[in-house]
């Protein structure tokens, strides 16, 4: 059995620092969910329970809108969360070759803290050679804490807080994506998945919504790269 990859405090700290830097917009996004949850008749405790167990703003907001429609069924809630979070299938798949080297238990715990922003941050450091698999968990802990804090504040004080959109909360994820993509594009060849991803997202997003647009971007970009890959005889081994 090969030795486990590092999973230590140093990597956790590196991730934690990045997570802290990303925390303010997540806090504001959490406020938005707390406000919407309170408007839907959830108490602060129930809103916090949703944030702790689902930990996905887009899925939570979509589920609440289904509840508010008056036609909520358990199937409708399940389908809504599955559709909104289908991109996490890709996130988990792309992390697996790297994260699984830390062992199953550590991987599964880390995946509980997986979100859009820290997936992007982690894929960037994997690309740069990060070895310590605790990095993902380190980024996720502060994000979950501020997500819960924002949810609580929004649910309790929503009536007197400013509109989260006015603070740019809706642009948090796209801004992280744009800036980290800019840093990760190192060669003209990297622009190919960028172009394919944008095209696929726009085509599918216009037809089936943003959630499927993101899934389509990943599948199209990854699919094209697989179809055109040349065997150089040296695997990445990441």
């Amino acid at each position: 059995m090969p030795p486990r990859a590092p999973f230590g405090l140093a990597g956790f700290r590196r991730g934690f620092r990045v997570g802290l830097a990303m925390a303010l917009p997540i806090l504001v996004y959490g406020l938005a969910f707390g406000i919407v949850a309170a408007q839907a008749g959830m108490g602060a405790g129930m809103a916090m329970a949703y944030s702790a167990t689902v930990f996905s703003g887009s899925a939570q907001l979509a589920a609440v809108s289904v509840m508010q429609s008056g036609q909520a069924t358990l199937w409708a809630i399940a389908a809504t969360v599955l559709v909104m979070n289908a991109r996490y299938l890709l996130f988990g798949a792309t992390l697996q070759p790297w994260l699984s080297q830390a062992g199953t238990g550590r991987s599964l715990i880390s995946l509980l803290f997986l979100g859009d922003a820290n997936w992007i941050a982690t894929m960037k450091v994997i690309d740069a050679g990060e070895e310590d698999r605790a990095y993902l968990l380190g980024t996720g802990v502060p994000l979950l804490v501020v997500w819960l804090a924002g949810t609580l504040a929004g649910a309790v004080f929503g009536a007197i807080l400013p509109d989260p959109k006015a603070l740019g909360a809706d642009l948090m994820l796209p801004a992280f994506a744009a800036s980290m993509m800019a840093v990760m594009v190192k060669a003209p060849a990297s622009l190919v998945p960028v172009a394919i991803g944008a095209g696929a997202a726009l085509a599918m997003g216009a037809w089936a919504g943003a959630g499927w647009g993101i899934v389509a971007a990943g599948i199209a970009g990854g699919g094209f790269a697989a179809a055109t890959a040349k065997d150089t005889g040296k695997g990445t081994g990441k």
Partner: protein, 99 residues
């Protein structure tokens, strides 16, 4: 009859957990190859690009300026997190002035 909030919470949590774990678990059964490695390397960039493109398509000038600022700051400083926060700050500022 509308289900209870607790029942809906349990279903939503189970669905979210399934999405987090299923892709990771499925990869254990895919044989590694140069094509799979190429796909895994390209997917993050394609997803980031898709997220950005969808936000640009849904937004207007304010959103374009905010994301343009984030991109330019990232290219200039190589500090992606700071650049993202700068982009969000530009959006908040423009919206405060009616953007």
């Amino acid at each position: 009859m509308t289900p209870s909030l607790t029942a809906m919470l349990l279903v939503a949590a189970a669905a979210a957990l399934a999405c987090r774990l299923a892709g990771f678990a499925a990869m254990r059964y895919l044989p590694r190859s140069h094509r799979l490695d190429a796909a895994l390397r390209a997917t993050p960039l394609a997803v980031m690009s898709g997220i950005t493109a969808l936000a640009l398509a849904a937004g207007g000038l304010t959103e374009a300026l905010a994301l343009g600022t984030a991109t330019a700051l990232a290219l200039w400083t190589r500090n992606d997190v700071g650049a993202a926060i700068g982009g969000v700050a530009v959006a908040a500022l423009l919206r405060a002035f009616g953007g």
